[in-house]
């Protein structure tokens, strides 16, 4: 088979170009289908990170993804944020974190 492919000039490593077309279309349509500009997406990303950073430790080396996808006419905001652990309360003496004031920094 390999020999045949070689004889007829087929390169096995070559990705079928339609797969590239499909993948590129998927990506471009996600952006086309939403009115969310890259700037707005970046703002969302930063603010989401800022809010949850108060409670959890984010692994920033792992790559944080905030995307908007669309299926059948509905948009979905997806955030994929790798965590290292929970953030302890500021004062180490306190064992159980107090519930009040959890939302303020």
């Amino acid at each position: 088979m390999k020999l045949l492919n070689k004889l007829f000039g087929k390169d096995e490593r070559r990705v079928a170009s339609k797969e590239l077309a499909k993948e590129r279309l998927r990506v471009v349509l996600i952006h086309d289908r939403t009115d969310v500009s890259p700037e707005l997406l970046e703002t969302l990303r930063q603010e989401i990170i800022a809010v949850i950073s108060e409670h959890v430790i984010i692994d920033e080396t792992e790559g944080i993804e905030v995307t908007i996808s669309q299926t059948r006419g509905r948009s979905r905001l997806q955030a994929n944020i790798p965590l290292l652990g929970m953030r302890r309360r500021a004062r180490p003496a306190t064992r159980a974190p107090s519930r009040s004031g959890a939302a303020t920094s």
């Binding site: 170009s17 339609k18 077309a21 998927r26 349509l29």
Partner: protein, 265 residues
């Protein structure tokens, strides 16, 4: 009974809107339907030449809208068919000569005389497109299996949904089965998956389209070429028949070819 009103559109230019409109009109008329095809591409009219009726134009759509002539005077009957008419676009005007309200009023006047009113839309998403979808309830979107055409089709689907028409249906034009087979062309399934839309038809790439357009006789008149057959299948599906999609998988073998001589269509 009111006519079925269908706009044929695509977003991207050059994917085969006018060819589909002409052939769908011919195929529907050949099945006994009363059909009028309206060219809504004002300033760049082409439906007349594709249908082979360019020498018979006296008045056009803009003349009707402006009251220069009566609607009947601008309608050209295709003498090769029992009940097929063309309403040509104006060539020396532009899309601002007509408004969506004008189009709605025009289509209203045609309802009682026809079974099908087909509107050939210009490319693009601006006023010409908005004119073309005004007054119709159904939309057929044409694309080819190329990234640019599929992307534009997606944009049009969004606009058609926003305009609260019936869910649009898709025709994939100029499929090359051999390229699909070797993985170098998006397949019907790929396009449908990406666009999440109902499929109305697939039309193979066929040199006969160029020949028939040269002659001014749409391929559906003859109906024996691969594309001509595909257009007839589309017409049958539009009329509500359940017609299986053409099997475009590679060229027929010798056995199938001989078999097909006995099967005709």
């Amino acid at each position: 009974m009111p006519a079925r009103t269908i706009t044929i559109t695509s977003g991207k230019g050059g994917v085969g809107k006018t060819t589909l409109t002409a052939n769908l009109a011919v195929a529907l008329a050949s099945r006994g339907q009363r059909v009028i095809a309206i060219d809504a591409d004002i300033g760049l009219r082409n439906l007349d030449v594709v249908m082979g009726l360019e020498n018979r134009i006296v008045y056009d759509l803009v003349d009707v809208v402006e009251g220069t002539c009566r609607l009947r005077q601008a309608m050209i009957r295709d003498k090769r068919m029992e009940s097929l008419y063309l309403l040509p676009a104006a060539q020396k005007r532009d899309k601002t000569a007509v408004t969506p309200d004008d189009m709605r009023a025009l289509i209203d006047q045609l309802h009682r005389d026809f079974d099908f009113i087909l509107v050939d839309s210009p490319a693009g998403i601006e006023q010409g497109f908005q004119n073309a979808i005004a007054g119709v309830s159904e939309v057929i979107i044409v694309t080819t299996p190329e990234v640019s055409a599929v992307r534009d089709a997606d944009r049009i689907i969004g606009l058609v949904e926003a305009a609260e028409k019936d869910p649009p249906r898709l025709v994939i034009n100029r499929i090359k089965p051999a390229m699909v087979k070797q993985g170098d062309m998006l397949s019907t399934e790929d396009v449908i998956e990406v666009l999440a839309i109902n499929l109305l038809g697939i039309v193979p790439d066929d040199e006969e389209i160029i020949v028939s357009t040269n002659r001014g006789a749409p391929a559906a008149y003859d109906g024996t070429s691969p594309a001509g057959r595909a257009f007839h299948n589309i017409a049958r599906r539009v009329m509500g028949e359940n017609v299986p999609f053409l099997d475009l998988d590679s060229k027929p073998g010798m056995f199938n070819r001989i078999l097909s001589w006995f099967r005709s269509g």
